[in-house]
């Protein structure tokens, strides 16, 4: 079994376990304000660093390219309160156009 399948299966099982534990534990366990603040922040920091990696690196090297245009359009669309599909499709179309113009 290759490492991709290992990651796919193990993460799937762990994530299901987390969902199930949530349904089974008493709420008091997570009631401490500090625990709540930190657990609230964890998805924010992970997703923010993922944006940085996916939009501005190529194989761990810092790179600015056509993807910057796509992310810029996504942020403008979000600021303009456009619906979710418009944000994603707008970003993809812009990135693709800039990429093709360079070629």
């Amino acid at each position: 079994m290759n490492s991709q399948w290992i990651a796919v299966i193990v993460t799937s099982l762990l994530c299901y376990a987390l969902k199930f534990i949530g349904h089974a534990i008493p709420e008091i366990w997570l009631a401490h304000p500090r625990v709540q603040r930190i657990t609230n922040l964890i998805p924010i920091v992970l997703l923010s660093s993922l944006v940085a990696m996916q939009a501005f690196t190529v194989k761990t090297k810092f790179v600015v390219d056509h993807r910057l245009a796509g992310i810029a359009v996504a942020l403008i669309a979000l600021k303009a309160k456009l619906p979710f599909p418009a944000v994603v499709v707008g970003a993809m179309a812009t990135s693709a156009i800039v990429y093709r113009l360079k070629i």
């Binding site: 490492s3 796919v8 993460t11 994530c15 969902k19 709420e27 944006v51 940085a52 979000l78």
Partner: protein
């Protein structure tokens, strides 16, 4: 019943984003079977995208597992909330756990009546599940047919989706600070440490910013 109709339309709209997941997974050298397995069993968008993203950036299976699992952690917190509303046991509880995601919880707690909350949870959960899986398969098969995924903007689909998920939550000052710090931190160390580390290490930022 407008609760049912609203729940199913959320299911369709969110499920359609599964096309992006299927396409991105295949563009990042995962197989169609792996993409479908993730949507069927993991069934949590951010974790699925992050797992694929970490490994395609050269990260190890371990760093992909840790990142994906941390992102799945919030579903556990939703589970705590939903358990009080649903009050289930046995098989139904196990099924409800799998359907506990951002959307099913969000639509459920937006209702004022208890019965509507339950209805919204099940209809939104099942709706997203069915459409998310259907569209994952379509996206994965479609991406196989496309050669250069950058020419179709697929390399920016996943970060754009993350931006859309993050954006409404960054009105709170602490969340915005943590987001910017994590973004800059990850970029500043990416050339110095193994792939995956820039992402997982931001948990320290969450702990520091959230401490007080």
């Amino acid at each position: 019943m407008s609760v049912k109709r609203d729940s199913l339309s959320v299911g369709l709209a969110v499920g359609a984003a599964g096309v992006a997941f299927g396409a991105v997974a295949v563009a990042d050298h995962f197989t169609v079977a792996q993409a479908c397995f993730l949507s069927l069993v993991l069934f949590s968008g951010a974790s699925q995208f992050s797992l694929v993203a970490v490994m395609s950036a050269g990260g190890s299976a371990l760093s992909a597992i840790v990142t994906g699992t941390f992102l799945g952690g919030r579903n556990g917190l939703y589970g705590v909330r939903m358990a009080q509303i649903l009050k289930l046991k046995g098989f139904k509880r196990a099924l409800a756990a799998q359907l506990t995601i951002d959307e099913s919880t969000g639509v459920a707690i937006a209702q004022s009546e208890l019965e509507d909350q339950k209805t919204a949870f099940w209809y939104t959960g099942f709706g997203v599940y069915v459409f998310w899986n259907l569209f994952t398969l379509i996206g994965a098969l479609g991406a196989k047919a496309i050669g250069d995924t950058s020419a179709w903007g697929l390399d920016v689909a996943s970060p754009a989706i993350f931006c859309a998920v993050l954006f409404p939550r960054l009105k709170e000052r602490k969340l915005l600070i943590a987001s910017v710090l994590a973004f800059l931190w990850a970029l500043s160390i990416t050339e110095l440490v193994p792939a995956g580390v820039p992402i997982i290490s931001t948990v320290v930022i969450a702990a520091l910013v959230g401490w007080k």
